[in-house]
């Protein structure tokens, strides 16, 4: 079997890291970071999600290359959806003509 058994200790460490990150982001929300606050909060969320994906969901140990492709494709398509929709919303005022 190509399956990798992850030691329990790894899980505990990852969990500890997640808790730490959570406390950081909750704490930072009380501090005014101005423009950066959203960016920082999202960056921490992305790191947390990556920890979960890589360790809890075993992608780090995955022997199938396809799993990587599937995961990346999923987020890439989400990005396409958000990004291309926003091309419309963010440029609506540019021309200064209502409805264009």
């Amino acid at each position: 079997m190509a399956e990798h058994v992850v030691p329990q200790k790894t899980y505990i460490w990852v969990w500890a890291a997640l808790m730490l990150l959570m406390m950081t982001t909750a704490g930072l929300s009380r501090v005014n970071l101005g423009e950066w606050s959203t960016f920082v909060a999202l960056a921490i969320a992305v790191i947390k999600a990556m920890l979960v994906v890589l360790f809890f969901m075993h992608v780090r140990y995955e022997s199938q290359k396809m799993t990587w492709v599937v995961v990346i494709a999923g987020f890439f398509w989400l990005f396409l959806m958000l990004g291309l929709t926003m091309t419309d919303y963010l440029s609506r005022g540019y021309l200064g003509v209502a409805g264009h």
Binding site: T85, T87, H100
Partner: protein, 542 residues
């Protein structure tokens, strides 16, 4: 041709392996599920067809005198919803793809047979709910469900129709998921990606769209239902909501959905053109990669349905140029199919006639798509009959022609009988003529300015509309004929040999009809796809 005479005694196959209604309703055999799908989508095709007939009768005269405008609105909505979500999307994938993909890759079944059966049950639930909607008063939003009309103003069964589509969407996701995993994980030894039939490549691309696109329409329609039921006003302009957001989410699926309909047909045509030209497909890898390119680029173009909807002009520029990009791989395919016929040894059988019809009509559909991607022109022809004609050239001239081609081509494998060739050719001819007579006048109508979804229209458009309705009646004959002779052939058709066309695919190296487990021994592939230099004498596994 590598035919061994079929023994008079019926050997065991997937059809006679077991009898009784339970053996069908609880089957996990992908071939039986394919047949269940075949029967159910044919029924839904007839429902959609009846609606289309009534629409064309109404449009014979400029005045709305055959039915009321409400009835008419329900008719085109039913026609659109049923044909798109309950016929075209499942058509080739759920019938032919289901039947053939495991055989083509040399597997005993799809990766998840139970999920495959669940997919059919979901389809039946969705279709049943949709029929209930039709019988209890219908829905009048069009298949596009644009808000705020669908969420606030329509007085018809919008929620039920939306749930029906949601459920059918799940069935589509399950089918797509099964195909992706099967093609990745279930290939027989030696069946490398570069040996994969183009039918599998195009279904792989289709499955990617099903899996990545369908959830988007699911959430968009869920929000419409929530808005109707609980006044959750995410698209409600009175609360600062933007109805265009619905259109974005809707077309994020529904534009790629067009490729769900056309890509499988492209796969069918690749198989058929190669088989009946007795040649390897010209530029195999380009055709294969073009499928993937269409699936990916197809997701980047959706807002070309919204050029006049009030989106920003700059977004329109982006989506227009991306729309042209997606036309490139489609063009590559057409040129490669044509080149495949060059110096072939062409057998003009029924499937080949359909496939040639497909190439021609798809080219016209694709070319008129260039008009719609073109910003300045789209402003004029958007939401007119030009659009109707364009997408019927793609969906009927393309997808349905491909479906008919495929059904004829694999009928010997599915049923173990040959269809009557003369009738087949006749029907193919009638469909081609009827189709063009129905839809070509609509290009002109559209450019003249006749809007779509019009119950009554100005009298100067009548001549072209009468032509279109006349063509539709010819087209109807063309569709009824195969239904009759296919049923006839089940009993009286000539018994088919294992490989009546002398084709190279793995599915032709197993008996017709195939045994339940497809192959007695797992095949080991040692040859390239479409290697017609070594056929026709193919070894037949027993």
């Amino acid at each position: 041709m590598g035919t061994l005479t079929t023994p008079a005694v019926e050997r065991e196959n997937y059809l006679n392996a077991d009898y009784g209604i339970k053996s069908w309703l609880l089957t996990t055999d992908h071939k039986r599920i394919a047949l269940l799908y075949l029967i159910s989508i044919t029924a839904m095709f007839m429902v959609g067809g009846i609606a289309a007939t009534l629409i064309r009768i109404e449009l014979l005269t400029p005045a709305g005198d055959f039915m009321s405008s409400d009835t008419y609105n329900k008719m085109f909505s039913i026609h659109g919803i049923v044909m798109v979500f309950f016929f075209l999307v499942p058509s080739i994938p759920a019938v032919l793809g289901n039947f053939l993909i495991p055989m083509m890759v040399g597997a005993k079944d799809l990766a998840f047979p139970k999920i495959n059966l669940a997919s059919w049950y979901l389809y039946i639930m969705g279709a049943g709910l949709m029929l209930y909607v039709i019988l209890t008063g219908g829905v009048d939003t069009g298949w596009t469900f644009y808000t705020p009309f669908s969420s606030t103003y329509s007085n018809t069964h919008v929620i039920a129709a939306v749930i029906a589509i949601f459920v059918a969407g799940f069935s589509s996701i399950f089918t797509g998921l099964n195909f992706i995993v099967t093609i990745h994980r279930m290939r027989a030894p030696g069946m490398t990606w570069s040996r994969l039939p183009l039918f599998c490549w195009s279904h792989y691309a289709t499955a990617v769209i099903m899996v990545l696109g369908t959830p988007s329409v699911a959430i968009a329609l869920t929000l419409v239902a929530l808005e109707r039921a609980f006044h959750i006003g995410i698209f409600d302009p009175r609360l600062g909501g933007d109805p265009l957001l619905f259109q974005h989410l809707f077309w994020f699926y529904s534009h790629p959905a067009v490729y769900i309909m056309i890509l499988p047909s492209m796969g069918v045509v690749s198989e058929i053109v190669s088989t009946f030209s007795r040649k390897r497909v010209f530029g195999y890898s380009f055709v294969a990669l073009a499928s993937i390119a269409i699936a990916v680029l197809g997701f980047l173009v959706w807002a070309h349905h919204m050029f006049v909807a009030g989106i920003s002009a700059y977004a329109a520029l982006v989506f227009s140029i991306l729309s042209y990009f997606v036309a490139v791989p489609s063009a590559i395919k057409v040129f490669n199919w044509t080149a495949t016929m060059y110096k072939g040894s062409i057998w003009l059988s029924t499937p080949m006639l359909y496939a040639m019809g497909f190439i021609g009509l798809f080219t016209m559909g694709g070319m008129t798509g260039l008009f719609l991607a073109c910003l300045g022109v789209d402003v004029h022809v958007h939401d007119t009959y030009f659009v109707i004609a364009h997408f019927h050239y793609i969906m009927v001239g393309g997808a349905v022609m491909g479906y008919m081609a495929g059904i004829h081509f694999w009928w010997p494998k599915i049923s173990g009988r040959m269809y009557p060739e003369v009738w087949g050719k006749l029907a193919a001819g009638i469909i081609f003529v009827g189709f063009n007579l129905t839809f070509f006048p609509q290009f002109v109508l559209g450019y003249l300015g006749m809007p779509r979804r019009y119950h009554a229209y100005p009298p100067e458009f009548q001549v072209l509309n009468v032509m279109s309705s006349a063509g539709a009646s010819i087209l109807a004959v063309g569709y009824i004929l195969p239904l009759i002779y296919m049923l006839w052939s089940l009993r009286y058709g000539e018994v088919a040999s294992d490989n009546p066309w002398g084709a190279t695919g793995l599915e032709w190296r197993t008996p017709s009809p195939p045994p339940t487990e497809n192959f007695v021994e797992t095949p080991v592939v040692t040859w390239e796809a479409y290697d017609y230099s070594t056929v026709p004498e193919v070894p037949v596994a027993r």
